[in-house]
């Protein structure tokens, strides 16, 4: 019997984005052609839009990408303009358009991060030193907001676990706690006691060490704009967006489950884990589906899609929660 050895797939054999995006466009056209005709708006092809995405003016310093292609998606990207002008960053205002308007005066450089708690190496570190040993990776992730909308974003960053390991956490380090900077002079939203400032988030240590967890410093090949959490933010793609804490100034290895901001605000609505889960509704709204903000942006029709368990990353992360009741540990 002949057993054929699998050749490594050449990158040239992988379906190029222009083709798979056209396929999506065909599916879309079949379902929505009539509606599009009826309202007299012919949507541009996703291929064209996606090409436009790359050509769009992108702000900030260009970064050198060390590695790309490890995490990609067969889904159209969200436009740079949409990623950077629709932000939940309450320190810069509660309206999603506000951060882009008010974050301009924020000084993201120079930046230091304090590493504290149960680790052999602790102290204050310049951002550059924190990142230096690691090549920057581009990873395209889904981002699902707890409010029911989602994006597809090409982040740039380094594996969180790779960075954390350098500080040699001890066996007492069961969780990792993160804190956002609190700088009232540059963050007008802090004047309102809407949340318990400073913003805090946390992960279990195995979640933090999971290869998907990303410390992001950029998007679309450039430095993070202030409104997206410059200069350093967390991206945990299988959890709701608010777990992705922005402008991190402190990372602490702790023994007990850390307090997190949204959980403090409403513990029955926002759990510690906050894994994307279509089977567990927010007490006030359904999480079964989401509105995808992607492609050419003029997606008035047909942008509602089913929400996937763990935001589509179940095969990679479900094992972290084996034996846990996800309805109780939401």
């Amino acid at each position: 019997m002949l057993i054929r050895k699998h050749d490594p797939i050449l990158s040239s054999e992988i379906t190029p984005p222009s083709i798979y995006q056209r396929r999506r466009e065909w599916l879309k056209a079949l379902g929505l052609g009539a509606v599009a005709l009826a309202v007299g708006c012919e949507s541009r092809s996703a291929q064209e839009a996606s090409a436009g995405v790359r050509e769009e003016p992108v702000g900030g310093k260009a970064l050198t990408i060390g590695e790309r292609g490890k995490y990609v998606l067969d889904e159209p990207l969200t436009r740079y303009k949409d990623v950077t002008h629709y932000n939940n960053y309450y320190e810069f205002g509660v309206d999603k358009a506000q951060p882009a308007q008010t974050a301009g005066g924020f000084h993201a450089h120079p930046w230091q991060v304090e590493i504290a708690g149960h680790a052999e190496v602790t102290g204050r570190f310049a951002l550059e030193d924190l990142l230096k040993p690691h090549p920057l990776e581009e990873r395209v992730y889904r981002m699902r907001c707890v409010e029911g909308w989602s994006m597809v974003i090409p982040w740039l960053g380094v594996g969180l676990g790779d960075v954390l390991k350098r500080f040699k956490p001890t066996s007492n380090a069961k969780y990792v706690a993160f804190t956002t900077i609190s700088r009232p002079s540059e963050m007008p939203g802090l004047a309102q006691p809407i949340l318990d400032w400073p913003y805090r988030e946390g992960l279990r240590i195995d979640e933090a060490m999971h290869p998907l967890s990303l410390l992001a410093v950029g998007l679309y090949g450039h430095e993070l704009p202030n409104q997206n959490g410059a200069p350093l933010r967390l991206v945990v793609p299988w959890k709701y967006g608010y777990k992705g804490i922005k402008s991190i100034v402190k990372i602490e290895f702790v023994e007990d489950e850390p307090k997190t901001t949204w959980n403090l605000a409403a513990s029955d609505e926002y759990g510690f884990y906050s894994n994307v889960n279509p089977a567990v509704d927010h007490p006030r709204w359904s999480q079964r589906t989401e509105r995808r903000i992607a492609g050419d942006g003029f997606n008035l029709f047909g942008n509602r899609i089913p929400t996937l368990p763990f935001n589509g990353y179940a095969d990679l992360v479900a094992g972290l929660y084996a034996g846990m009741d996800l309805h109780r540990n939401f």
Binding site: C41, K81, D82, H85, Y86, Y90, V94, K96, A97, E147, W149, Q192, I194, L195, A265, A266, D281, R284, W285, S286, R288, T289, R291, I293, G297, F298, N299, L300, F301, G302, N303, R304
Partner: protein
């Protein structure tokens, strides 16, 4: 006497002129919405934007409708009541656009979700009820229905207060953390209700016309 007649004529003319103007004004938010939609100026999440803007205008016109009677009493301008039905129907109109946007554009294709949404989500239950209560009021808003129902018309139309309260609750319940805006609407509604209450009316009457109020109480 003559002056009174001419001023009455003047007011009639003014209403004749200003009513179409008010009508156009009420349509302006819709026109801007259509304009922004066609020019793709609704921002990153156009569906949410359409829902928010139509909801906001439904609520604003609703409160404007409820403000007519207290304003008429305060100012003594009886002609104000001539705008009440139009404002109320426009509030209902924007509520219909709001609901349609949710059903057709937002929920598009996932209609099986609708019933569970309305039944399970308090903010949906309350919002849908607010709209449902307005339907009979809109249907009986014609002059003919007013005559046919007689006294029961007023009883029926008291539902408007329940609907307004539900509409504000709908807004309050869907907000994630910043309750300031819906609380402003709630505050205005509370104020309007207070201005209608008998206690407030008699208090005001006494304050404005002490001798008359005294005479009445004797």
């Amino acid at each position: 006497m003559k002056a009174g007649l001419s001023s009455r004529l003047f007011f009639r003319d003014r209403i004749a002129v200003s009513k179409p103007f008010a009508f156009a004004l009420c349509l302006l938010p819709l026109a801007l919405l259509v304009w922004d939609t066609l020019r793709e100026q609704l921002g990153t999440d156009p569906v949410a934007q359409l829902e928010h803007r139509t909801g906001d205008w439904a609520l604003r016109l609703f409160l404007a409708t409820l403000a007519i009677t207290p304003l008429r009493r305060l100012s003594g301008s009886a002609w104000l009541v001539r705008y009440r039905r139009m404002l109320g129907l426009f509030a209902f109109f924007y509520a219909c656009v709001h609901l349609t946007t949710y059903l057709v554009i937002d929920l598009g294709g996932y209609w099986s979700q609708l019933l569970t949404e309305i039944a399970k989500r308090p903010y949906m239950t309350v919002g849908f009820s607010a709209w449902l209560l307005l339907v009979p009021l809109a249907l009986t808003s014609t002059r003919r229905m007013m005559h046919r129902l007689g006294r029961r018309w007023q009883q029926l139309h008291r539902l408007v207060y329940v609907s307004a309260l539900l509409a504000v609750l709908h807004f309050l319940w869907l907000v994630k953390a910043d309750h300031r805006e819906p609380l402003i609407y709630l505050g205005i509604l509370a104020l309007l209700m207070l201005a209608r209450s008998d206690a407030f009316r008699s208090m005001r009457a006494r304050a404005l016309r002490p001798e008359k109020a005294l005479a009445q109480s004797r």
